[in-house]
């Protein structure tokens, strides 16, 4: 993380992120309409929105603190607490369920020693349930960051978790950069 900006909160935003927010305010038709992408800009840097992030949004977008928190609390992907290194969100909706998502979840719970909704004590893994991730024909699936891991089997999950534990991120099914 870059140097925090002035302020008495512990975690600040980098000058780059603040500049990104300024650019978004320019790009969007009104200041307030830049709220969602600005929250994403903070997320991109920190993985969550700390109080200093809320301060920056209130100041730059000229919206009330209540409105920022309304939006932060409304959307499931926005977070206001630091997150685990690997947040693994397993789809538990109908298509993935039919294709065995609950077994995948049970397997992961056992393997990680945590229950759905919990984080491992070392902060490496958080296991979350997610509503439909739009991979219904490729289920079961889980999301990590920008990518989806699809057609999950217990073996594939083992491989994923083992690699992540070692600090290696296996190529996701939606990661098609090599094809470019």
């Amino acid at each position: 993380m870059n140097k925090p900006v002035e302020g008495n909160t512990q975690v600040g935003l980098s000058a780059e992120t603040l500049a990104r927010i300024d650019a978004l305010v320019e790009q969007y038709p009104t200041k307030a309409s830049a709220l969602m992408p600005s929250i994403w800009a903070i997320h991109d840097e920190l993985g969550y929105v700390p109080p200093a992030g809320v301060d920056a949004l209130v100041e730059k977008l000229e919206v009330t603190r209540a409105r920022v928190h309304e939006v932060l609390s409304f959307f499931t992907m926005y977070r206001t607490e630091p997150q685990a290194e690997n947040v693994l969100q397993v789809c538990h909706n109908i298509s993935c369920h039919i294709m065995g998502a609950r077994n995948i979840i049970a397997h992961m719970e056992k393997k990680l020693g945590i229950r759905l909704g919990e984080t491992t004590p070392d902060g490496k893994f958080a296991l979350e349930g997610a509503e439909c991730l739009g991979a219904c024909g490729h289920g079961p699936c889980l999301q990590r960051g920008k990518h989806l891991y699809e057609y999950l089997t217990t073996e594939k999950v083992d491989d994923l978790l083992d690699n992540l534990r070692k600090g290696e991120v296996p190529r996701a099914d939606t990661d098609r950069e090599l094809e470019d």
């Binding site: 209540a66 409105r67 928190h69």
Partner: protein, 521 residues
Amino acid sequence: MAKLTIDGKEIEVPDGTRLFDACTEARGETLPHFCYHPDLPIAGVCRLCQVEVEGMPKLTIACNTMVRDGMVVHTRNERVSKANQQVLEMHLINHPVDCPICDQAGECGLQNQYMEYGLYDAKVQMAEKVNKAKAKVIGPHVILDQERCVLCSRCVRFCNDVTGTGEMGIFNRGDRAEIDTAPGVQLDNNYSMNTVDICPVGALTSRDFRFQKRVWMLKAAEGVCPGCATGCNVRIDHEGGRIYRLKPRRNPEVNGAWMCDKGRMIYKPVHAENRLSDPERGGDKLSWADAGQAVSDALAGARLELVVLSPQLSLEEMFLARLLAEKQDATVVAGPAELGRGEGDELLLDADRTPNRKGLELLGVAESSAAELSGKIGSTDGTILLLGGNPAADAAVEAALQKAAEKSGVIYVGTHADETAACATLTLPGAMWAEKAGIFVNKQGRLQEFKQAVARRGAGREDWRILVEILGDDDAPVSLKALRTLMKDTVLPGTQADLNRLPVLGLVPGSLESGSRGEDS
């Protein structure tokens, strides 16, 4: 105009009327509702004001529907009643039903509407209900119970659209959604207690009123807030001689449905410890008979030379004091003009913190500055009569009065043992605004009547009665009604207006001819 049929009754309303309001007119009572409020933007979320409009396949909410000519509307048929009942049931499934300890009980939208539109058997056990925060202090005046909340969003809309302060929000979603202030933010604007009024349930309650009184014990009197020149119309809720709270009375011409928190708290001095309860002279309490003698003695010794009025007085009191001064050839002034000033805002609170400066203007009584008034007091050899307003709160006036009291009588008709009472040679206990009836003229020039709510403290008397005694005149009015009749030609010359029957929304003399204002409604 649009003609429509509501529950078989034909009515005609202006184009652009909300169907909700048209239904109120036709039914003689509102549709069931939580979120609709005439002074807030439409939210349409409580889903209670469903009506059937013939020709439309689905039920529709009346609050977001504009009347159309020829509309045929049903508000009480089986389909609508069923929907009312089911939606109300939804409002109540997670409600804690803690009515016995809820301040809202007795004036609660859930209670009242359950009796009229609910009456189903409860199907949810207490253990299955969603739990949320209770008794959370969210500001200096307001306390929140999230479990009682029906998420009508009125308080949020109030803070966003009326005060523009935006402290409140609805956070999270689904049945986890909850009203709150943003983290680190207090509901601390000067209008915060309006959220308590518009909260249709017991979610937002007043910290001041909390656990003080069951609402059904309260009696109400129509008052006008004496806190500033706006003259917000208020309801004084009282019982057993005590005022428990002030609430705004809706007057679209003056205060809409709102009033400020400063105004709400203005009843506190009525019950202050230092109220004057008996006539006093030199620290000795007197009976009114002795006090009357004392006044006569003083005036016999030195004639009445100066009468000092205050913008706190009612129009009737000002008029009578002026009459007294005229009869006794005394000078009548008001002041000091510096008192009763503060900072105003753009909503209701006026920089002029007195209720009746316009009344002085209407009667042609000029206000003196503190310096002028001190000078006048200093150059007076006769008796001085001070009516309300604690003029000695100004140090120069105080000094002048102290000096004057050494050479002649200083009679003060006041309400508290304040600086002026300390200067006076004779104090007479008057009545505070809530203890008497009268007329205030607000900053618009609007004459607004206020009524007596509680009994006067101790031996206190209405100021006009005290003045009548001092006047000692057989022609003096014997009742407030007579007094108003007497003053009518001075106050409203050349009109047919009746000061004893002021319109509900008040009367602006200048606009009488146009007839555009002051209509009874």
